[in-house]
Symmetry: D2
Subunit: 243 residues, 4 copies
């Protein structure tokens, strides 16, 4: 049987009790994402919300997570640094991280990127169309050459990130902008995927293609078996301890 | 005084006598490009058109060119293979190559890319907007964060090229498509820039930003001083001939 | 049950009857590779050698192959162009290709790369040590931070290839050279892996780590389910045929 | 006349009064680097050492610097965070940064990379040989295909950095290791070059090729004219303030 993948969905869970969010996500965005993921029997899914003790990200949760999803927006700064540092270390040791929408400004994403991660935005219900520019990438598996969300917040270039290792999707917005909306990065042993859609007042996490991309991303970001890497003083290749 | 750069502008020169082209380019597209480049006193510019003997690309012209611009469309297959092979070898030895618009399907571009170089297209005078995604790149120097051409042929993804070494511009089209419209590639010692605009019935080579990009690209693609690279049998580092 | 992967191992099969090769590979290099791959029950393996009719690469074989391994050396030019063109088209449509050792100079690799693919070489039984520079890459899965082959032909930089999409291994040679010895490229829908070791007079395809890399590469290069990509004239997104 | 480039050389200046350093660098490593750079009349050079007030990196110095060189080793943690943050912001706004040798573990490099930046090391006077893998890169201009330092500290892979945007040099060490020793990265509007050699007890900054690489890197990393990038709320492309 295929290996189980332990997934933790982190959500700020602040907008989720407001009408504009509830009408699309009656149980919160995290549960909409969970519902979309659990179609795949490989996934064991844990929910962590910012209102839980330790943001739901205890050492046990972090250490047992293979792939973490991260949704945050206006309470980024209230995630304590010691938790961000633990998640950062866990990514470098191999945990996958899927950063969603306004998570572009989260402490953890900025710490991993090293840049400002800023962009243009407009809340006016643009139409967003995703074009696949890397059709053989596993994250694009089963996704048509384009798909459209009728209503989304606009994010526009310049997106202040390092050049992605791989660019998978580019978004077109009806208001006239474009955005690198599906980007992969490797940091340490961890694989990171940034995926743009998911404004709190839009039903994007109910869209079948968005959810398929999230499932693909979880498989892609899942760490392989760990290989020992020696760092620090290295006397000699003849020393069997460091081979 | 700064070093002179020898530029050759190759044009198929087939559309250029038709009304749809003449109204924007009374002296052909090649002369519009020449006019835009010669603002820069560094450039020595030669014109080569496909109707000339050897397509204007004699050994002497090819060997003396630092940066070649290439516009072709419906007569790609009439460029003889022996000329394409000579241009290919010259690129690998260091010549810069700026491939324009429908040149995506030229023999030389396909030979350098190794892929099909296909794309979607539509002749319906879309509006095209260029967004810069790499603002510190020398090819984007002096270009605003976006500029717009009111009328262009649409090219849409998937564009079947290798992942560019650097992505500089992404185009937005009013009909709903996006395109990686400014892409760099290094092949051998040569630097290649693909730049999308320039349909024969649209006045894009009269646009100040398009021409500025072409001037920037010529400077970027110009070869540096050659460094000897030894290939083949290599006896030993102690052999002074191959150091 | 996991999906079967159809693998074809192409070998020039010219050196394989000579003593220097037979002593390490009594049934030819292709059968040593086959033996190393068939440990994995996912793989259906076909052998194609250059002495077979159509080089063993009939339309049926090519079209049914998910991942092709390619070993060639001094008879590259005797592989007919029409076969190379068919393999090239098949890669662009999604077939994986693992190019081995002196295959760097094969027609198919040069056609896919667009460059000269030249390098330095020396037949003097250098020691070669592989260092992993991308430990979370699936091709490095289960491979230690370094492994050593006591005896190999030297290949040295500059290796005249496009910058790889991903660099997985760098080789160190006892004579003083380095080489980018594990490189990935995507071309069209196909994934390509170049892996350096495998001189005909050295027992590298009997090495457990070399064979593990080959198995990993087959899994990595195997195409995902195909997604339709429309190329050519594209009237409108409203046309359901091209969605 | 060509534009002047304002360079600041930052040195920890801790080892520089010890015999092992003085014998190669009687006026400190920073002055050896300065001497190597000032051959080029384009450069205005300022020295900043960690023992100066504000580490020599006052707002005025930082704001007037086009390209900063950074050498640090055992006192990384004594550079105050508020200075690191200012240098980080300045890089994102366009300042070039050339990180030298043990600067791989500086706060500024780790903050820009987002990874651990760890590696293997050995102080045993290995021979180090630099192979150029990107001969048309401006940083390799005028550098032979390889050059050797007879005596250097070893740094070995895995080097825990993001995949470089461009790999220019790979080092071979006589003890058996390799290292990606010349790497470029773009972060925000800033260009970053990591260059490996420069142990405090080795005379590498007296080597003509090392110094040529540093001069090339200063030209490459120097910012072009700034282009306004709008970030944040973006009402419309029709708003002339944000064009």
């Amino acid at each position: 049987m295929e290996k189980k993948i332990n997934i933790t969905i982190f959500n700020e869970n602040y907008h989720d009790s407001n009408d504009y969010c509830v009408r699309h996500y009656p149980n919160g965005m995290h549960n909409a994402i969970k519902k979309g993921l659990e179609v795949d029997p490989c996934f064991n899914i844990t929910i962590a919300t910012q209102d839980m003790e330790e943001c739901g990200l205890t050492d046990e949760v972090i250490n047992n997570t293979d792939v973490m999803f991260w949704w945050g927006h206006i309470k980024h700064n209230e995630v304590p640094d010691h938790i961000v540092n633990k998640v950062h270390q866990r990514v470098l040791k191999g945990m996958g991280l899927v950063v969603l929408h306004s998570g572009h400004f989260s402490k953890i994403f900025k710490k991993l990127m090293g840049t400002g991660c800023d962009l243009k935005w407009r809340c006016s219900n643009d139409k967003e169309r995703f074009w696949c520019v890397n059709p053989s990438h596993p994250i694009a598996n089963g996704i048509p050459q384009q798909f459209t969300l009728d209503q989304e917040e606009m994010y526009g270039e310049h997106f202040d990130i390092p050049a992605p290792d791989e660019l998978v999707f580019i978004s077109w917005f009806s208001g006239g902008e474009v955005f690198r909306s599906g980007c992969t990065f490797r940091r340490g042993n961890g694989k990171i995927f940034y995926f743009r859609p998911g404004h709190e007042s839009c039903p994007s996490y109910n869209n079948e293609y968005v959810l398929k991309v999230l499932r693909n991303a979880a498989h892609w970001a899942c760490p392989a078996e760990a290989t020992f890497q020696h760092y620090g003083k290295f006397d000699s290749l003849e020393n069997p301890e460091v081979q």
